[in-house]
Symmetry: C2
DNA sequence: CGTAATCTATACTAATTTTGTAGACTTTTA
DNA sequence: TAAAAGTCTACAAAATTAGTATAGATTACG
């Protein structure tokens, strides 16, 4: 399971990507996505530090998408908030940790199995960009009329 | 990430599946897989309650695999210990919970994306049986000589 | 210049989950 | 009947997560 903050981030980003304008108040996103205001603040700050969002302080300030929606994918967002995508620490690259349960990691079939799942998941997450998600949403909506 | 207990369970099961005999003491598995004895006890009990393992009490007792290794897959084990496989509660079946962040779940692209990942993951986990894992391990070992 | 609007930062609390362990109990066999 | 095994319940320690409080910094604009 991804963390709640990660889910908040994804929903906020999709919300921003699907609007024609590119300026958003925290309050506005909070209400539109039903995300507690204070939690959203920290989430947006993290997205800003990661270079995905930009912001302007002071009166008439707000947040904005800093990249085109096609250039933000879910793999990056999930990694940012939850770290490793793999289900097992020995099947990750950046967040690698060895485990005690296998004699030899190189021949551990459990690791091999979870590596395969990790790779498949990463591929799918990478293909989910804000742009593709917005498109999907439009399709689903027109189908449901 | 799966829980440590789940990882313990998987390693213990693979260990049992790859031995020619079918009788194991808790102590024996604990040492072979470097799993704390007491934690392993509760894990094995859970596996027994789920019908995957059987046991015999008393002197000369022990645990045994109750099903053929081809009939135990990782999807079942992961569900048993960690519940839902999906990364998001609205993309599960048995452990479903609605979320507040989307207006309409039926047209929510975030949910659609995570549903796709969940389905792919479940397919892969189902294809990982104890039998296939043991085979993989043999292959990896012969390759590494 | 001052004030209101807005984002920034840090730290704390409460809740939850996870992990491991203790310790008494039951069953079986020799 | 004693020794060897699994069974059960409950607790404690640790880690993680989520949310909130509080104060600060920055900007626009009259």
């Amino acid at each position: 399971m991804i963390s709640r903050k990660c889910k908040y981030a994804i929903h906020a980003l999709v919300f921003m990507a699907k609007k024609p304008t590119n300026k958003f108040l925290i309050q506005e996103i909070s209400e539109a996505c039903s995300i507690p205001r204070k939690s959203l603040e920290t989430v947006l700050l993290d997205l800003k530090r990661a270079g995905i969002l930009g912001s302007k302080q002071g009166k008439d300030g707000g947040y904005l998408l800093r990249r085109s929606p096609a250039e933000v994918n879910l793999a990056e967002v999930v990694r940012l908030f939850d770290g490793a995508i793999a289900a097992v620490p020995c099947a990750t690259y950046k967040f690698y940790e060895s485990c005690d349960e296998c004699e030899d990691e190189k021949t551990c079939s459990v690791r091999a199995a979870f590596l395969q799942i990790r790779n498949a998941t990463v591929e799918l997450l990478k293909s989910d960009t804000l742009e593709s998600l917005v498109k999907t949403e439009k399709k689903l909506k027109s189908r449901n009329l």
